[in-house]
């Protein structure tokens, strides 16, 4: 192969902002619609001639489309470079990889911080309450706009994993393989409870201004930081927190005051403070709400298996992590049992890790290898390998 052919076959990272014409609105579960929808996305690798090698990655609550490239605000590397990259299970040398910012987000896709074209002002709380199905519908519009009829795979962790389930429920014929990592088919009371703490922290910040802070030129940074601190605890296991920090102090002794005496306090404060630089408070409200509303079985007569009735031919892979107490293994088992009940082709493995929910983003070789094995075998079945 000559150099010219190589560079033609290997498109560099791409993406941008896709603006849908007003006559192609995003129809919402609440009955409304968003006209002039914009979806910000990144791509890696090149679409093959058969258009059969596309993988859509769905991101988690506070993540974004920068799955394998440096974040434009923080400058930090992509959030899933352990899994996405040359020689990794999701490989731009083999796959055309798409990751888009969810509708309701704050990294370029239409969300509460965007300008409402009808008023010329930021949406704020006039933005419609959206659902994960709305997010997935927007992704499906983008995928279609990119000329892809059927994705080779839809892959996601946490909220991304829930979107994967929504994808196969809503578009079973447009997905060849589905990978759902550290997720659940519905939000539990505990999940909703933690989200409510975060939302209340934001709304208690005087700078939130009833959601209208953008117009008034302020930001509810304190509230959003507290929301992030509370949520961050749920992403880590007790064991990992203990291993990292124990009761270690920041300084030489106790301050006998309310400074960050303990290292764990300092760590959480840093997590909160750095989060507000890259995230919008109203987006946090809307996306957590969408997650809380998620209950895949409810939309199918309370029988989860019925959500997968038409997805028997999809090759499923479900992962959980032993120390994940936010989306514990029992939730993944529910998904797998529903898949088995309809005779779907489902694989499931619980990865032994003490890193908690965030394990799916961290260095977990068994997870990475199993994912690689699954996608490799699926690629063969799809005629890609």
């Amino acid at each position: 192969m000559s150099d010219g052919e190589t560079s033609a076959a290997r498109k560099t990272d791409g993406g941008g902002l896709w603006t849908f014409p007003a006559d192609q609105p995003l129809r919402l579960d609440n009955g409304g619609r968003i006209e002039g929808l914009e979806i910000a996305y990144q791509t890696y690798g090149a679409l093959n001639a058969e258009r059969s090698n596309a993988i859509l990655i769905c991101h988690a609550l506070t993540l974004d489309q920068f799955v394998a490239s440096n974040h434009p605000v923080t400058g930090r590397p992509g959030w899933w470079t352990r899994v996405v990259g040359p020689g990794k299970p999701i490989d731009p040398e083999k796959h055309f990889i798409i990751c888009s910012n969810v509708v309701g987000g704050c990294m370029g896709s239409t969300g509460p911080s965007s300008i409402d074209l009808r008023t010329g002002a930021p949406w704020g709380l006039t933005f419609p309450v959206i659902t994960l199905a709305d997010m997935v519908r927007a992704q499906a519009m983008l995928v279609e706009a990119l000329g892809i009829e059927r994705l080779f795979a839809v892959v996601g962790g946490s909220m991304g994993g829930m979107q994967v389930l929504q994808w196969v429920a809503d578009y079973p014929g447009r997905v060849f393989a589905a990978v759902c990592v550290a997720a659940a088919a519905r939000h539990s009371a505990q999940n909703i409870a933690f989200h409510e703490v975060g939302r209340q922290a934001i709304m208690a910040d005087p700078d939130w201004r009833g959601g209208g802070y953008a117009i008034e030129g302020v930001r509810p940074e304190k509230g959003l930081a507290v929301a992030r601190m509370a949520a961050h605890i749920t992403y880590i296991s007790e064991a990992a927190l203990q291993r990292k920090f124990g009761r270690e102090l920041q300084g030489d002794g106790l301050s006998w005051g309310f400074d960050a005496d303990f290292q764990v306090e300092s760590y959480l404060r840093h997590q909160g403070a750095s989060f507000v630089d890259r995230f919008d408070a109203n987006s946090y409200l809307y996306i957590t709400r969408a997650m809380d509303y998620f209950d895949l079985a409810a939309a199918h007569g309370d029988v989860l298996a019925d959500a997968f009735r038409d997805a028997r031919d999809v090759r499923f892979c479900v992962f959980s992590f032993t120390s994940d107490w936010l989306y514990p293994t029992v939730e993944s088992r529910e998904i797998v049992r529903a898949l088995n009940a309809v005779g779907a082709r489902a694989s499931f493995v619980e990865i032994d890790s003490d890193k908690g929910h965030d394990a799916f983003l961290l260095d977990e070789p068994v997870f990475r290898d199993a994912l690689g094995g699954f996608l490799g075998a699926a690629a063969q079945a799809r005629g890609l390998a």
Partner: protein, 204 residues
């Protein structure tokens, strides 16, 4: 390069399973049997395996395998979802063998079950002469380390099949490294001779 020798019990299962059928292998390990069945008989195979390492190895082979165990996870499969459900050398290690056997026959049209025979002459002799729990080729662990909590003889098993109204469509004696030998499991002599036995079961 010559093909590696197929384990005698696998060869017997390969002989019994109709090509192109749907198969669930309960306790599939690293997927060697499922892969063999897919390659040789073109079966649509699924597996259940308790160890994450085993499941990962299966996934790397392209097999559809879920982490789980026979006691808890069979209940969630639809009735008659499979043509064959295979439980190889595992029934004696489950919590509730009667329930598991019933579940195998609910979700599969047929079941293929193999188990060590506690009625084998060496087992009987060991216990008679030494008064100690037998340790043999098919029962290699001491009593305090064995996963086998519900050992039975060939005749115990045929009695349970009777009780559950199951018919034994085929039976073979298994011995380490030797080809499977078709037997009549109701004969007293076979309850002495067979080290392990493999049964093909269906509902009456």
């Amino acid at each position: 390069m010559s093909a590696p020798a197929v384990r005698p019990d696998f060869a017997e299962i390969l002989r019994l399973v109709r090509p192109g059928s749907r198969v669930l292998d309960v306790g599939c390990g690293e997927g060697a049997l499922l892969e063999l069945l897919a390659r040789e008989n073109g079966v649509d195979g699924r597996g259940i395996e308790i160890s994450p390492e085993g499941v990962s190895a299966c996934m790397a082979r392209g097999l559809a395998v879920m982490q789980g165990d026979a006691d808890r996870d069979l209940d969630y499969f639809a009735a008659q979802a499979f043509d064959y459900v295979i439980l190889s050398q595992t029934l004696q290690a489950v919590q509730n063998p009667r329930h598991v056997l019933g579940e195998l026959m609910r979700i599969g049209e047929r079941a293929i079950v193999s188990l060590p025979n506690f009625g084998h002459w060496r087992v009987r002799l060991d216990l008679l002469l030494h008064g100690r729990m037998p340790v043999t080729g098919v029962l290699p662990d001491p009593w305090w380390a064995t996963p086998n909590i519900h050992l039975c003889t060939v005749h115990d098993f045929t009695a349970l099949c009777d009780d559950l109204a199951l018919s034994i469509d085929a039976c073979a004696a298994l011995a380490d490294g030797k080809p499977a030998r078709p037997i009549d499991p109701t004969r007293a002599a076979e309850n002495w001779r067979a080290e392990a036995a493999l049964f093909l079961l269906s509902r009456r």
